[in-house]
């Protein structure tokens, strides 16, 4: 396996994981688990914007990461 392939898999996995965590974080923010809104000083008014941003970012990252992982 070439170096580029190994790097692609590693970076792809990292990016996909980051994307997945961003999506999960959006869910946690929505339900305010563990008082996360207070921890990050996120007001109720801003939650929707943060969620939308995180979900879009998460999905794009996951897809981009999967491209790298599935590289031939």
């Amino acid at each position: 396996m070439s170096i580029r392939r190994k790097v692609s898999i590693a970076i792809g996995l990292a990016q996909s994981v980051i994307g997945a965590l961003a999506t999960v974080f959006a869910y946690l923010l929505y339900h305010d688990f563990l008082g996360i809104r207070a921890l990050l000083s996120v007001t109720s008014k801003d939650v929707v914007l943060y969620m939308l941003t995180l979900i879009v970012f998460g999905l794009l990252s996951i897809i981009s990461g999967l491209f790298l992982v599935s590289e031939q």
Binding site: R4, V7, S8, I11, G12, A14, Q15, I18, T23, Y27, L39, L40, S41, F57, L60, S61, I63, S64, G65, L66, F67, L68, S70, E71, Q72
Partner: protein, 474 residues
């Protein structure tokens, strides 16, 4: 058994209370209308399923009839609808079991999906052996509930009335239509069924008739025992009424029946979505990795896992009404396309071997199209909006296949680089104080800084790797 097991599902246990809010005692009429609409389309499924015995069901039918975008659209909506259906069933399972054990509904729903994803990786034959026993038990309990309800005196009313008038009945019909879904899953798994030419039509139509009898009777018995107002707001109106009429024994029995129903439909829909994804991948619309078969069980395990992840995300919402309407939307579109496929094939391929032929053609498929599309008008507005978004995504997904793998990958490379640059700028602004994080502790501030820094580095490297991708097999 696959059809009945997949069709008697959690929906009938957890959706009747809201439906009776809409239609009152006329929910019985709504269920009868749903049954008729469903039967019209099941005739098309029976004919096409016996004539085209390949995995993929609706997608395969549309591909044989139309090909191209129409077939992709059919497969797309069937794939998404089955995931919504699995989510609905798993959430229903959690609500049902909460009558015995207090549970966290979203978490229980997610765990249910994980378990049945594993079961589906083992294959249909493994499921079939246990499903016969489970469905038999389920039917026995429901029949006992119905017979008991017909005998005992009740405080309900047999007078048909709807708080929302005829509009309420139609709205309830559009909402409750999902309880009849699941029978068509037989057509999706047909490649794994012996003698499909005879078995498929018999199974589909028999299942549809069984549901047409059982559901309205169940609602009739329920409303005979209690008035509609009494079940409003109940997680499961059937279990509530069973406890009133049969005591704790009735409650436990209906919980068991509900658990079996929910588990069967989760299992059937996870299987169905994986087979549709497999068929779409076979034709190049989805990544080829979904074609991978398990070495030991020969099942499309990657398709099962990917679909189950999406299903788990949907189930995590824990909202029955939204998921129910969303399931309705997708299947109604799919049903219309199946009926259209039947008519196209009758015209273009009149000599195709058809072990079963739809009776009263062309009235049956035309009536199936018109009546099911009519219900779309009365689906929740939020779900209709989601449906439009999903349709747009379908167009984009189809276009991606036309454009080609490398171009799309380069585009995502550019997106990653852009996101990386944005994240770097965000990191700089936060670190320099230009974008202050008010009331955040120093530890949290440091964590945010390093997370953003790490993320920006990963994004930019990933972007460069994707943007410099060479032509390769998708």
């Amino acid at each position: 058994m696959l059809g009945i097991g997949g069709a008697i599902q959690a929906g009938v246990f957890v959706m009747l209370s809201y439906a009776s809010d809409l239609a009152g005692t006329a929910i019985i009429v709504a269920l009868l209308v749903c049954g008729i609409i469903n039967f019209l389309t099941m005739c098309s499924y029976a004919e096409l399923g016996s004539a085209i015995p390949k995995a993929g069901g609706e997608y395969t039918f549309a591909k044989a009839a139309y090909g191209g975008f129409v077939s992709f659209l059919t497969g797309w909506f069937e794939w998404i609808s089955n995931m919504f259906f699995a989510a609905l069933s798993s959430v229903g399972f959690a609500y049902i079991i909460s009558y015995i054990i207090p549970v966290n509904v979203p978490l229980t729903a997610i765990l249910t999906i994980i378990v049945f994803a594993f079961i589906n990786i083992r294959g249909v034959e493994e499921v079939g052996k246990s499903q016969v026993l489970m469905v038999g038990t389920l039917l026995a309990i429901l029949i006992a509930f119905i017979l008991n309800g017909l005998i005992i005196p009740g405080a309900g009313t047999l007078q048909l009335s709807s708080p929302g008038g005829p509009l309420g009945v139609i709205q309830a019909t559009a909402y409750i239509f999902v309880v009849y879904l699941g029978v068509e899953a037989i057509a999706v798994a047909q490649a794994e069924i012996k003698n499909p030419g005879k078995t498929i039509p018999r199974a589909i139509l028999l299942s549809a008739i069984v549901l047409f009898v059982i559901y309205p009777l169940t609602a009739y018995v329920m409303l005979r025992i209690v008035p509609p107002e009494a079940i409003s707001g109940q997680y499961s109106s059937l279990i509530y009424v069973a406890q009133l009429s049969m005591g704790d024994f009735g409650k436990v029995a209906l919980v068991i029946a509900g658990v079996i129903a929910a588990m069967s439909s989760v299992n059937t829909s996870i299987m169905a979505q994986s087979r549709v994804a497999y068929a779409l991948s076979r034709d190049g619309y989805f990544p080829k990795v979904l074609l991978n078969l398990h070495k030991k069980f020969s099942t499309p395990y990657v398709a099962v896992v990917v679909g189950s992840i999406f299903t788990a995300v949907l189930a995590a919402t824990g909202v029955i009404n939204f998921v129910g309407y969303a399931t309705d939307f997708g299947f109604i579109i799919g049903f219309a396309l199946v009926n259209l496929s039947l008519m196209k094939l009758r015209r273009d391929k009149p000599l195709l071997d058809r072990p079963f032929k739809t009776p009263f053609y062309p009235f049956t498929p035309i009536a199936g199209i018109v009546t099911s599309l009519f219900l779309l008008i009365f689906i929740d507005v939020g779900v209709l909006s989601l449906g439009i978004v999903l349709s747009i995504l379908a167009v984009v997904a189809y276009y991606i296949r036309m454009v080609g793998y490398v171009r799309i990958r380069v585009a995502f490379g550019g997106i990653s680089i852009g996101l990386g640059i944005f994240t770097v700028m965000l990191t700089y602004l936060i670190a320099s104080g230009a974008m202050p994080l008010n009331d955040v502790s120093p530890t949290t501030f440091t964590a945010i800084f390093f997370i953003l820094l790490f993320t920006s580095i990963i994004l930019m490297i990933a972007g460069l790797l994707n943007a410099t991708a060479k032509s390769s097999e998708f």
